[in-house]
Symmetry: C2
Subunit: 403 residues, 2 copies
Amino acid sequence: MTANVLQIIRKSKVPLSKTDIVAESGLSLSAVSDHVERLINEKLIVVSNIGNSSGGRKPRLYALNKDAGYIISIELGTSSVRVAISDFDCNILYSDHSPVDINEGPEKVLTHVYHVVKHIMSTNHIDQVSIKGIGIGIPGPVEFTSGLPISPTIMPGWDRYPIRNFWSKYFECPCYVDNDVNIMALGEHAKGLNFEVDNLIYIKIGTGIGAGIIYDGKLYRGSSGSAGDIGHFDVGSDVICWCGNTGCLEAVAGGKAIATKAKELALAGKSNFLLETLDDKGELSLKDIGAGIQRLDTLSVELIRDSGALIGRVLASLVNYSNPSLISISGGASEFGDILLAAIRQGVYQRSLPLATRNLLINKSILGKSAGLIGGAFMTIDQLIINSTDDNSHSFHDLKQRS
Amino acid sequence: MTANVLQIIRKSKVPLSKTDIVAESGLSLSAVSDHVERLINEKLIVVSNIGNSSGGRKPRLYALNKDAGYIISIELGTSSVRVAISDFDCNILYSDHSPVDINEGPEKVLTHVYHVVKHIMSTNHIDQVSIKGIGIGIPGPVEFTSGLPISPTIMPGWDRYPIRNFWSKYFECPCYVDNDVNIMALGEHAKGLNFEVDNLIYIKIGTGIGAGIIYDGKLYRGSSGSAGDIGHFDVGSDVICWCGNTGCLEAVAGGKAIATKAKELALAGKSNFLLETLDDKGELSLKDIGAGIQRLDTLSVELIRDSGALIGRVLASLVNYSNPSLISISGGASEFGDILLAAIRQGVYQRSLPLATRNLLINKSILGKSAGLIGGAFMTIDQLIINSTDDNSHSFHDLKQRS
């Protein structure tokens, strides 16, 4: 139950008094006092400031001790990796963004990431003991309990690779692996929003299209950890997807699909701007379509609008099914002004039922590119606290020996 | 917290000792003893039998007192209504099934239901005071907090009709209203399954097609109570739906759609059996297709198979998105042997991702036609207990005055 009290303090956006914690936890005041004392002794929380009095002595307010330790957060993409070291309140202190090719397989990629981590640590004089946990987001399905990637199609060679074991060779602290969009959803929900949202769908539109789901205030991973896959929703087209089926959303509206279509249409003479770019670079990427939009290139605008309309159609079904109060849009394609967002909104409102859209907001992600790193730290601390409840006689700082 | 202890005892499939309750609740043994004593005094739980000893005195085991009161459960359909009186453990004691026409509007329909309830009560000598709550499921979206139907398209005249107020004219106990499939999902999860399932999607295929969602062991209603609507998933056909859009699942694969198509094709000479039935009755219903399947009428089999394939395609997307461990199928069309189920399974497995189907079961509902009535009682008792936590100084039996 000490862990519960720590979670309540940590998840609150303002410092809390013991009375606040009693109200939130349902525990007695004397139990709360015991837990608070233990957390103070372990330096996991601090007295933040003195609150307002309702008559007698002003109550002490407690907050998370952001200096309780460091967290390493890693967001692996198909062509680059972001690495950060954050404090215990998920503030990013140091970070790095470097190219990787995920096709080179886990050993080579993770060794690169390890060197980046070591470099950040030595440059900033951070020793191993103060690192309390490592959180990694990868662009594929993860069995969360084991941290194993399961048939991650855009990560050849990574199927069931024991990522956790790689890190335990170098670090004593626990390592947790999750799907990248799950982690982004966690980060956005916990640290991005300045209002309360219970039900959030976080969408990342990159090479593929994925979703992270917050239900009733908690990340929803599903029965085997694969929840949130929307890339293979059937949109009724005859385009063949890498998964073997036809008409998957990702195969028609994802970043790679947009770039492929752009090349095809540029070569057919539909856009001078994109044809020139193609001549220069030999290939087209989502970024080139972004540049096209800034120059008001008609084809670029149409491609993004069509993609948004398809994504909106799928989201309309999900809005009817899961009735969220917020949909946050992130990823490369979301960076191109409001064209994508407007098309998505139109698609959703056209096909959703009245009661489902009454309180629905569809916005760009507030944390944007930082969502993954901040969420990675948040997920890691969450797991450290959850796993500590197994045995209350150990202090939280002992976790590195036990996990 | 007494309410929490009551929920733990009630939701357990076996009687529990105080030590079991301590383990489940995280409360101290002395706190659990206090709550148990209070619940015994209020006759909400009973000493069930004596458990196995682990050395000393054999522990007492506690179970819900099924005789703590009666619950009225009502399941309203478009053309009939089921009414039951159950005990406090959701066992149906008395029930009735009678025709109604939901188009006649709330006053007329509910007055009929009231007379049915009064008749059951007087026949079985049940007085008003022993009725502790009323639970109603309706075939449309409900704002659960207020119990108001919101734009329920197949219930003309019911939009925002205060169903709860109707009942408070006659009964002092609280009344709760929810969507019918939500209630069925609750019933199946709590009382139908003899194994633990955290994530369940309950599908009802009747005139329309709807879903009830259990996530992490709890009914998920969404932000405004409309979660579970899958009838308007876009399946890419050009059939116009009553909602104004084209290609909705319900408009192509629902019971009404099947019957319409059957009529069309029978008139085109595709089935002698259905044409004869049509000549006899002037119309075709889902039941007639069922009779056709029993006679191995090819058209009937094809119609149900096509409907199952479409429903399977939509469920495949939902399996990828929400990764349930069980999908339960119920409703008229599910009664026709295994043709529908086989087609649904095939559709799901063809389009779902490996990790998402690894532990997935797709079965017929175990409670079947009783799911709604049992679930209605379960939902009502759930709400009685949840609402009682507002003020621990009142006994549960005071609820009727306070709600």
